[in-house]
Symmetry: C2
Subunit: 405 residues, 2 copies
């Protein structure tokens, strides 16, 4: 079967590599014909590349090739990926992608375009890189009401937090190391401020509960305010700080969805996720907690997920999968601050008796070198708004959510 690849960056070139190096296992697993790369869309010249003859700079070469049935979009970003993908789907060509930004922003319109073209738009690689999550959630957990999802969805921030926790490295040094290792970009904003994780939360929430959730509906807080002091206090409570995307089902018409640092207690599967690894925990009413772990980024892990989706499309080329979600709603994602109760970690300039006066019941934490005018503690469950009201007159140094995953 003829296929095309759009974009020849890290993931796109990985897709070509995975297809070429796995022809045997692909043929065995699909029982079918091999994937044959007919075109690679790229704006560079790629002179001397072994695939030189396959390159084109003109998208229409792919759109107008009737033999091409499946296309991988690894361009990234919304433009021109959106326009290209929409045209291909409407023309009845299946499209698979690793482009989380596009799926989070335009997933609904592209799923509708796929309906129109009676074809499939798949995006297993857009969340968790090579970790199987989209398909297991859609198929294997189909007989569950999903109650909540919590995920370590960004490898860069998890690497930085791991260095802070395990090496006592400062945030700035850990970020620099991540950049030196190629895990973080020169402008690391999308990672460290949580925007990347937020897009993945949108995709997971949309798929789990059937209505499109957009990035601007997901309250997002990054890790740049996390200090070694916080790490140390949380460690004294047998916990670690992770950047989590969280989704909670409230009812048919309401969910909560947010990205923020969170205290995870050791013993949770999420606590032992180190380095650049990702993990996604899904809580179902029948199955309980299931957790999916692996490399959330990287050339070959992500490419292998893209190629698996292409194989699925190749098998379903004459058949529309039941997959996707409907339109979103403005008030569908609630303000979690006023609705979701949870315990909080608080670090503040106050005395222990001040803390007890305010909260009655708290669990105090400690750290080496703790100043006499600083306390840190875990509160009982309450909303974030209630917490902030109680702390209105206090000098608060940091507040971090505490999860029950």
């Amino acid at each position: 079967m003829k296929i095309a690849v759009m974009g020849y960056g890290t993931v796109g070139s990985g897709v070509v590599e995975v297809i070429e190096q796995h022809s045997e296992v692909i043929a065995k697993r699909t029982g079918g014909e091999p994937l044959e790369i007919a075109h690679i869309l790229d704006l560079h010249d790629n002179i001397g590349d072994p695939h030189e003859a396959l390159f084109t700079k003109d998208f229409n070469d792919i759109l107008n090739d009737p033999e091409v049935k499946v296309v991988a979009e690894t361009i990234g970003g919304v433009n021109p990926a959106f326009d290209y993908t929409q045209k291909l789907l409407k023309a009845g060509k299946a499209v698979v992608t690793s482009n989380k930004e596009l799926v989070a922003q335009k997933g609904l319109e592209l799923l509708q375009a796929a309906d129109e073209g009676n074809t499939n738009y798949l995006f297993e690689a857009s969340v968790g890189g090579g970790i199987p999550i989209i398909r297991p959630m859609n198929q294997c957990l189909a007989a569950n009401n999903i109650e909540g999802i919590a995920g370590i969805l960004n490898g860069t921030t998890n690497f930085i937090l791991t260095m802070m926790i395990e090496q006592g490295m400062s945030f700035d040094d850990a970020l620099k190391l991540a950049q030196d290792n190629g895990y973080a970009e020169k402008d690391p904003t999308a990672d460290i401020e949580g925007f990347d994780a937020s897009r993945k939360v949108c995709i997971l929430a949309s798929l789990a509960f059937g209505k499109h959730v957009y990035p601007n509906q997901v309250e997002t807080e990054g890790i740049s305010n996390i200090t070694l002091e916080d790490v140390s206090y949380v460690s004294s409570a047998n916990g670690v700080i992770k950047l989590l995307g969280q989704i909670k089902y409230i009812n048919e018409d309401k969910i909560a969805a947010f990205v923020s640092p969170a205290v995870v207690y050791n013993g949770s599967q999420l606590a032992s996720v180190r380095d650049v690894f990702n993990a996604i925990l899904v809580r179902g009413d029948a199955v309980g907690d299931v957790c999916f772990y692996g490399r959330g980024a990287g050339k070959l892990p992500t490419a292998s997920a893209v190629v698996a989706d292409m194989l699925d499309c190749a098998k379903h080329v004459d058949r529309k999968k039941i997959f996707g979600w409907g339109a979103g709603e403005e008030d569908y994602v609630v303000d979690y601050r006023s609705t979701i109760e949870m315990p909080f970690y608080v670090r503040a300039k106050m005395s222990e008796s001040d803390a007890v006066n305010i909260f009655h019941n708290v669990k105090f934490l400690s750290r080496k070198g703790q100043p006499s005018d600083e306390v840190a503690f875990i509160t009982d469950k309450m909303t974030e708004n209630a917490l902030k009201e109680k702390l209105a007159d206090s000098e608060v140094l940091n507040i971090i959510k505490v999860t029950n995953y």
Copy 2:
């Protein structure tokens, strides 16, 4: 769509419960008609059961009902489940099961019967209970050469080991607690001697590498020889002892597959799997390590996986999935003792200098109350046969494999 359930024990009654309590989400996820239970096959009378009218003791009521398209087999064991399943598949009815014994022993014949009937035989629930593993391995990791698999595949033994590790409970006391909690049966042999895990290894190996592996090909060692002394020594090396099923790809014609206690170092995703939970780690050449975690047994988790397979069959009722494996071969599974090199944990009556004389390079472990004539250490990588040859003249107290997962 009309379906039937064969066997009304823990899993079978769970299947009925999950179908009834999830009709809304099932309809949403499948975009289709609900599953309607037409028959429940059970030899008990079930008088007063709310489904009393659906019960039959005669298998032919299911086989001969042309409206029944999908059947759940939760009878367990080989007979009569094999005969029933084979007849249903040949008659073109899809069958899904949680019956690992049947799939491990008769999977090939039943997959062939499914071919004959142009229908599907699915068994997601047979490995890892509610954890999605069969479908992700078959579909999501399709573009990987799988290099190895390691799994905590039995909840009972993992519970016992957890109690030994965390509570310092003896094996006998932990087993008794597992029985009191309903995690272990009165005759716990199949669990503690590793036979249950061995069946799951057969299914995973068959699916991953395409040739049927039978339980008698999987060298199997249980946990009854593990002592608190071993637990304590391993803890001093920052490790834990787990009962692991391991599968290693050697080449197109050879694999290794075995079940045994194994030392897993903390930091591994497998090390933090506590209590009755299961986890399966798959190592692919493109994706790296991915790990699937959740409840490996229990009524509703297992039932939710059975129902998910029924939904998949319902969607594919007119269509054969590309899924399964071919015939096995006598010499396909190698004797790992002579071929696979790994480090070993050794506890023996000898001096440290004896150990150094024999192995040159070892890492000594320690425990509280260690007798002066006892040592424990981790060796370099070697085959188990080479190890045993070196220890031929020594008084060995225990030997445990050390994994690299």
